[in-house]
């Protein structure tokens, strides 16, 4: 029997998930105890970092093992401004964080990604990992930024005369910023730009043959991710109240990769979900088995990577929707005269 094409498409699940989570996030502080509000805020902030990673990997196909570098450097910059120059305004520090992330990403992109020959995947991965490692070691040894101890006891962010204390206030700040970033990325990735990225991810050479300057697209995405990581780095520093070399290094960088993979790379909601779940698992695991929980965490991550490389989102969302469709939805094509003779 002839059915019009439109009704054969599956119902989209991702928007449902997104909306549900957004609504839950908006009302959560009313139900949760203080500690859990803080916990969730931290999840939002790290989720933003994971999102920045997924932008680079899931959408542009570059494995950046060094996202924490931008995160940490932004955090350090904001912390230095706050402690040495007493600047605490959120309107200054967060943009500064973002800018630092952007600039550092630009430098790294220049060295690792751009250039005459496109680098291979492993080089980008190891190059970013190494950068993260090197900067962490430098930070550990530099007493101006506190060395191993980092910069403790950061003052709170202020908006005018208003102190942004951690708790519901910071929660909503983080949520709003996350939502804005999310929305922005959603528009970007569903646009023509996103279509180009998908093409680059799938078959880079072909895109180059089409005339797209692939390197520029990659560079742009990388810098954008750096910007996002920088903003989240600034937020994190002031939410936690300190910056340390651990916020720069490969441990956090790799953790972010795992967050994104756990939740589902190649989607926007996946990394955020992944961050929340991994942090929750870590928290509860450490309560149950004080001395051995990292072993369980490692095994858990291994299981996910092995058996469900599409991440947990892969449980709920079909592959086709995950990879995504681009541009405005096309109207179902009217049945052509020939279609009537085709088998149903």
């Amino acid at each position: 029997m002839n059915q019009p094409v439109a009704s054969r498409t599956k119902r989209q699940i991702i928007p449902v998930i997104e909306l549900t989570l957004l609504v839950i996030a908006l009302i959560l502080p009313l139900f949760l105890q203080d500690f859990w509000v803080l916990f969730t805020t931290r999840v939002f902030i790290l989720g933003m970092l994971a999102l920045s990673f997924d932008l680079v990997w899931g959408y542009a196909g570059m494995m950046s093992f060094g996202q924490a570098l931008f995160f940490g450097m932004a955090g350090y910059s904001a912390a230095l401004l706050a402690t040495k120059w007493s600047i605490t305004s959120v309107f200054v520090l967060l943009p500064v964080g973002g800018a630092v992330g952007l600039v550092v990403a630009f430098l790294i992109a220049g060295i690792i990604i751009l250039g005459k020959r496109p680098p291979n995947l492993v080089f980008v991965a190891l190059g970013t990992l190494t950068s993260s490692y090197v900067v962490e070691r430098l930070a550990r040894g530099w007493s101006y930024v506190g060395g191993q101890n980092g910069i403790p006891s950061l003052p709170r962010l202020t908006a005018g005369s208003f102190e942004l204390t951690e708790g519901p206030l910071f929660y909503y700040l983080a949520l709003v910023l996350l939502a804005l970033v999310y929305l922005g990325l959603r528009i970007l990735t569903r646009s023509q730009f996103g279509l180009v990225l998908a093409g680059i991810r799938q078959q880079e050479n072909r895109m180059a043959f089409f005339g797209y300057k692939v390197q520029n697209y990659k560079g742009f995405v990388f810098c954008l991710a750096g910007l996002i990581a920088g903003i989240s780095g600034g937020l994190y520093a002031f939410h936690e109240g300190y910056v340390g070399p651990g916020q720069l290094g490969p441990v956090l960088s790799t953790q972010v990769v795992l967050y994104a993979l756990f939740g589902g790379a190649g989607t926007l909601i996946g990394p955020i979900v992944g961050t929340g779940l991994v942090d929750l698992f870590s928290f509860y695991l450490s309560q149950i088995w004080e001395t051995g929980w990292p072993i369980v965490l490692g095994l858990l991550l291994l299981v996910i990577v092995v058996f469900r490389p599409t991440g947990l989102i892969g449980f709920l969302v079909s592959d086709r929707e995950r990879v995504g469709s681009f541009g405005r939805p096309t109207k179902a094509a009217p049945p052509t005269p020939d279609a009537r003779h085709e088998p149903a």
Binding site: F35, S153, E240, G244, G246, Q247, S286, Q287
Partner: protein, 407 residues
């Protein structure tokens, strides 16, 4: 057919996932799953909550495990003698995992969720710096830090019960000059503690007529010390005042030994080296190594021996009770705090702090100790020398040594 099976599997795993998500939400809502040690028996009043935040996993777990063991031991002991102010102590243990990012969340839980009355913990200075703000400023809770460190921690409501550079150098360095020589070399790990300790040590060395021939800093996992060893040998250095830490220290000591340093009469000194650390290298490589701590098993004082016996009975010998792992500081801190709480007859931070500012205990591992102005503790210090893999006490301080911090 295949499609059908695949679909069934997918929907099954989907259901499973949603089920598990539901369970997890339930756990979150109830806040379940804590490592809480509840006081035994029935009590008339609510428990006093003591938060212990230490590194049970990660590279510093060798210190965190004895810390948590000691805490449990002391808290059980206090409970068996009637608790404090008629209330039992409840110990809430959190693993900071040698990961400062994780630690802040854990400590936050102690302070915001469990609403503990005091937090003991942190071993490395970087951990202390990461968590102190959450505890003391944002959490408005008392914080007691038990480990030997570089000093200069003067935050109000933060008490340090481990040795400071003054305590480790003032009596030790004169002994080193007398029993080693005047030429010192300072190979160090590159972080705050060695830098500050070295600066202090240098003044004491020079005041006592010694000379610092060299001072060098390495990443903690550096394992090539040939250049340094060479400089030490060629400058005929008498005393190597070492502050490199594991893992690098093993390679350093070995390379120093192989170059013939101790064979030629050189004296190795390392102020964090306790009985645990003796395992790091074979005994012959550290023969003659001198250390200065607030307690060694070799002190053989009755109180210390009693603690050792009890500790070994409860926890075995894998993670022993030593001074380098902050276990002695933890013991001391808990006892001093208990005294303060009893004296203040309250758990309000300001009142306990006021009492803690001059609390003293008549006996402890290594002897009595007392909190002095500046929120640090004066205590006996012992100089010990490693002989055939065991320590021998060669000097005891003339009374309790002042910490010299924050005055």
């Amino acid at each position: 057919m295949e499609d059908e099976i695949k679909q069934r599997l997918q929907s099954y795993s989907r259901r499973l996932f949603l089920q598990r998500a539901g369970l997890l939400t339930g756990m979150v809502a109830l806040g379940g799953g804590s490592y809480i040690y509840n006081p035994k028996g029935t009590w008339a009043a609510d428990p006093i909550k003591v938060g212990i935040a230490t590194d049970l996993t990660g590279p510093i777990s060798w210190g965190g495990i004895p810390n948590s063991n000691v805490a449990k031991m002391v808290i059980d002991d206090i409970n068996s003698k009637g608790g404090l102010l008629g209330r039992p102590l409840q110990m809430i243990l959190e693993d900071t995992a040698t990961n400062e990012q994780l630690a802040v969340t854990k400590v936050r839980k102690l302070v915001t969720q469990d609403k503990v009355d005091v937090v003991f913990g942190g071993i490395t200075s970087s951990m202390r710096n990461a968590i102190k703000d959450t505890i003391v400023n944002r959490g408005k809770t008392l914080y007691i830090y038990p480990q030997l460190y570089e000093g200069k921690e003067c935050t109000p409501f933060l008490y340090c019960t481990g040795p400071t550079p003054a305590q480790q150098c003032d009596t030790f360095i004169p002994w080193l000059i007398k029993n080693g020589g005047k030429k010192f070399y300072l190979p160090s790990a590159d972080y705050v503690w060695p830098h500050v300790l070295n600066a202090y040590a240098r003044t004491v060395i020079e005041k006592n007529g010694g000379e610092v021939v060299g001072e060098e800093y390495f990443p903690v996992d550096h394992n090539e010390y040939s250049a340094t060893v060479n400089k030490i040998m060629s400058n005929k250095v008498n005393v190597v005042f070492n502050t490199t830490i594991p893992p690098g220290v093993a390679a350093f000591f070995k390379q120093l030994y192989e170059a013939g340093f101790s064979k030629n009469g050189g004296r190795l000194a390392c102020v964090y080296y306790d009985e645990n650390a003796l395992n790091i290298t074979p005994a012959n490589e550290i023969e003659g190594l001198a250390s200065c701590l607030d307690y060694f098993k070799a002190v053989n004082d009755p109180y210390g021996n009693k603690i050792q016996a009890e500790y070994t009975k409860l926890y075995g010998t894998k993670n022993p009770f030593t001074a380098g792992s902050a276990a002695t500081g933890m013991y001391r801190g808990l006892r001093l705090w208990a005294v303060a709480v009893t004296a203040a007859k309250s758990l309000k931070r300001e009142e306990v702090a006021a009492a803690l500012d001059h609390a003293k205990i008549a006996d402890g591992p290594g002897g009595p100790s007392e909190v002095v102005p500046g929120r640090h503790v004066k205590m006996n210090m012992y100089t010990a020398v490693a002989k055939s893999g065991k320590y021998e006490i060669v000097e005891k301080s003339k009374g309790q040594v002042m910490p010299g911090e924050c005055v």
